[in-house]
Amino acid sequence: MTSKKVEKRREVSIRFCGDSGDGMQLTGTKFTDETALAGNDLSTFPDFPAEIRAPAGTMAGVSGYQIHFASEQVYTPSDSPDVLVAFNPAAARANIGDLRPGATLIINVDAFNKKAYQRAGYTEDPLPDLRERFHLVEIPLTTLNREALSGLDLNQRAIDRCKNFFALGLLSWLYGRPMKSTERWLESKFKGDVLEANLRTLRAGWAFGETTELFPVSFQVPAAKIESGTYRNITGNQALAWGIVAAGQLMDRQIFFGAYPITPASEVLHEVSRHRNFGVKTFQAEDEIAAVSSSIGASFAGNLAVTVSSGPGIVLKQEALGLAVMVELPLVVINVQRSGPSTGSPTKTEQGDLFLALYGRHSESPMPVLAPSSAGDCFTTVLEAFRIAVKYMTPVMVLSDSYLANSSEPWKIPDVDTLPRAPIQFATADDSGNEGFQPYERDPETLARPWAIPGEAELEHRIGGLTKEPVTGNVVYDPVSHAEMMRLRGEKVDRVSADVPPVEVDGADSGDLLVLGWGSTLGAITAAVDEARKAGQMVSRAHIRHMNPLPSNLDEILGRFKHVLLPELNTGQLSMILRSRFLIDIQSLTKLAGQPFLVSEIRDAIDSILNNS
């Protein structure tokens, strides 16, 4: 095809950035799909500014999408992109700090006029400086796109809106990405002149790559060796949604999903809403309190209930979650964590809600907590949360976060037939003994109480949030019953341990340093440990998915290492729990900037521990 030279690369990372209106998220997603189909491993990081469209051309309005792909395993979107594609000066200015000197910076030079660079906050023409520091490729994107689309019956604005596809075509050529999936998507989405325009400029971008002298070579990133199977790209939110749908299928029960929209959790609601044919009932409530309350009601009535929200919304749900703890009904609560207290930075990421999950209710109100560690893992974790909820008759909280929610990775689609099917067992009239049905009689092994649902004869019973007598569940005020029920609720959650697999150590079983993590930091930690090992350091790694109860071998594992480093996107919440529990001087690496860890930040922490010991 192309007459230019093709060079091989092991890995590449690219960041597309531009105005919110420039379609950067779309460009990134399509490039990601192409890359996945090319067989690379990959990791992405979409980073958009806020919830509403900021004034065009300002720093506040810059939207970015980064993709890292390779012929080997990829753990993070990469600290620093090899290529930055900037649609305007604001995008360049906002992102340039992450670029290594000499990296490739592809800009739409048409957008670099005086007005625009001043609007971005540059006091003088940035091009001379950029030329010096980076490999600057100046492409008149606007002009080229207009030329490609001349003659079409579209107004200038509609035409200019296509220029991201020109860029996509060009980058696709540059890295030898097959554009089929993008073309198919365009065909399914648009028609008439708009379709024609997008297809034309996409191809024009590719052709421009082939002919322009700006790019003397193109690159090839061979497919990665990955486990055989059928793959797809998936984001964390999509995986959560599908996990919810799958739970209903596998447990053979209708799903009730009570929700109130909130960034970055709303997409889970959106996605599940699209699948009513699975018998799922999504219910958009008037607020988070109604969302969780209706879900608990649904659980009482025998549905598999789930409610999904983020920080502020989870806080509002806590009173009702306390009731769920008290009445011991199964419920899955998903918290897609976002950044900062109060409204904070709704689109940014953080792991600040572990304490909220464990301690955010009044009195002692224990609840199992799980944390997925990758987009695909969100699917598995939701299924597990439902299993625990039903088996132990308890609410379970799942802690995802904004980073997992939006970033995507190739996911090996599980074989549906091998997923564990666990039809639910409700109590029946047989469970009603001589004394009548006892709603707080417990399974001797799990301590779960029976799930007896309205409509079932002879099991009529009343539950509520008042202190109750063991076994009968009758309202009482005596200290002995009170103490006993407090104890039982705690012990029941402890017994979930029986379902918590031991933590596995990656690397040597003992040694100088264990890097421990939980949730979405897995990628960055793995990459950092990998690098450290390549550099000859002896570092092990372990990742926790069951935040409560904790895996029972944790104590023993921590005891085998001289140092334990625990990076968290908070002020050290898990660290505090483990220090207290095990009286071990865990070293906490914290970050609270609304951004995931850079690999280098963790590497530096590793270095500093190993060099000082």
């Binding site: 486990e227 797809r232 699975f278 309190i289 309350s293 879900s295 608990i296 009482f300 009731l323």
Partner: protein, 340 residues
């Protein structure tokens, strides 16, 4: 009285729990009447669920030998929504108070009413917070002296009926704790309605707000101070020699005096119609305020509209016939995939 729907009797609905209301509390008679009519409504008591919030009134579910859920303060309608959506075959009853339902829980009540699920909502209005020992509530009369308003309350009260109508209620009624016959009739109507039936029950709290409803509870005063809404009947009240009727003047209701031999309708007295398309008439009735006007009791409005759960089930059906029954394998493989 309607024929019983089942073999069940009142006693089947009495639970084993000691009733813990103060002596003389109006809640006792409400409980008794509800237990009395339930056998007419269901033939299996396991199909009945009572849901409440927190308050004296909200203890109700414990005393009903059905499924029951005593939830948290103000949120009962939301729990009920989840229950009904999950299993539309259940007979779902919400019991709430003026504090539970209209103070902390106003929003859930509003939105539940708006959604029109097929359930009954009974609001026991004693114009006071009973359980927390006597603070004024959103329905308290202006100037109510209570523990939290020693100089008298300065909030304008909320009228539960106007509130429900403003929320778009399809069924709105009012009855009185001490009037067993009327209450049972009203409960029957509420149960028969397909959609959210909102019933305000005037209830005396002898401990913290004794006599607040006396002018309509007392049999003698009641005839002068209340008007019974009966479908197709003119709005006439009072006793012979002192009959009065309600007329509408440009949308505003007014009381006129009637002679005993008058034909009320020809005098312009309105004939009660629950089924008018617009809510305006029912709302006009709700604005009648004592002492100038009588307090209406009975059914203000009944309108048939699709229920939320019907529409929800319909969407599931529609989705299933459009997309086919859910296929998990197909879902996971939808869109772009690749095989290694």
């Amino acid at each position: 009285m309607a024929a019983p729907a089942s073999e069940l009797t009142r006693k089947d609905f009495v639970s084993s729990q000691d009733v813990r209301w103060c002596p003389g509390c109006g809640d006792y008679s409400i409980l008794a009447n509800v237990q009395r009519v339930m056998p007419e409504f269901v033939d299996k008591k396991e199909d009945v669920v009572f849901i409440s919030g927190i308050g004296c009134s909200s203890r109700f579910p414990y005393y009903m030998n059905t499924y029951g859920f005593h939830t948290i303060h103000g949120r009962a309608p939301s729990f009920a929504t989840g229950i009904k959506a999950s299993n539309p075959d259940l007979s779902v009853w919400v019991v709430t108070g003026d504090g539970d339902g209209l103070s902390i829980g106003g929003n859930h009540l509003l939105h539940s009413i708006r959604r029109n699920m097929d359930m009954q909502i009974l609001l026991f209005n004693n114009k006071i917070y009973g359980l927390t020992k006597g603070q004024y509530s959103p329905t308290s009369n202006p100037g109510t002296r209570s523990k939290s308003s020693p100089q008298g309350s300065i909030d304008y009260p909320l009228d539960p009926i106007s509130f429900a109508l403003g929320a778009g209620a399809t069924f709105v009624a009012r009855t009185i704790d001490v009037d067993a016959t009327h209450m049972q009739q009203t409960l029957r109507r509420a149960h028969a309605h397909k959609g959210t039936a909102f019933v305000e029950i005037l209830q005396n709290c002898p401990v913290f707000n004794d006599g607040v409803w006396e002018d309509v509870q007392d049999r003698k005063q009641r005839v002068e101070n209340s008007i019974s809404l009966v479908q197709g009947e003119p709005l006439v009240f009072g006793t012979p020699g002192n009959l009065r009727g309600i007329v509408m003047e440009g949308g505003d209701p007014k009381v006129i005096d009637l002679d005993d031999e008058d034909d009320p309708v020809s005098k312009g007295v309105v004939v009660h119609d629950e089924h008018l398309e617009s809510t305006a008439y029912a709302f006009a009735l709700a604005t009648l305020t004592r002492p100038e006007c009588p307090l209406p009791v009975g059914v203000f409005r009944e309108q048939r509209k699709a229920t939320y759960e019907q529409m929800l089930e319909q969407q599931i059906e529609d989705a299933t016939s459009a997309q086919g029954a859910g296929d998990l394998h197909a879902l996971l493989h939808s869109g772009d995939t690749w095989t290694v």
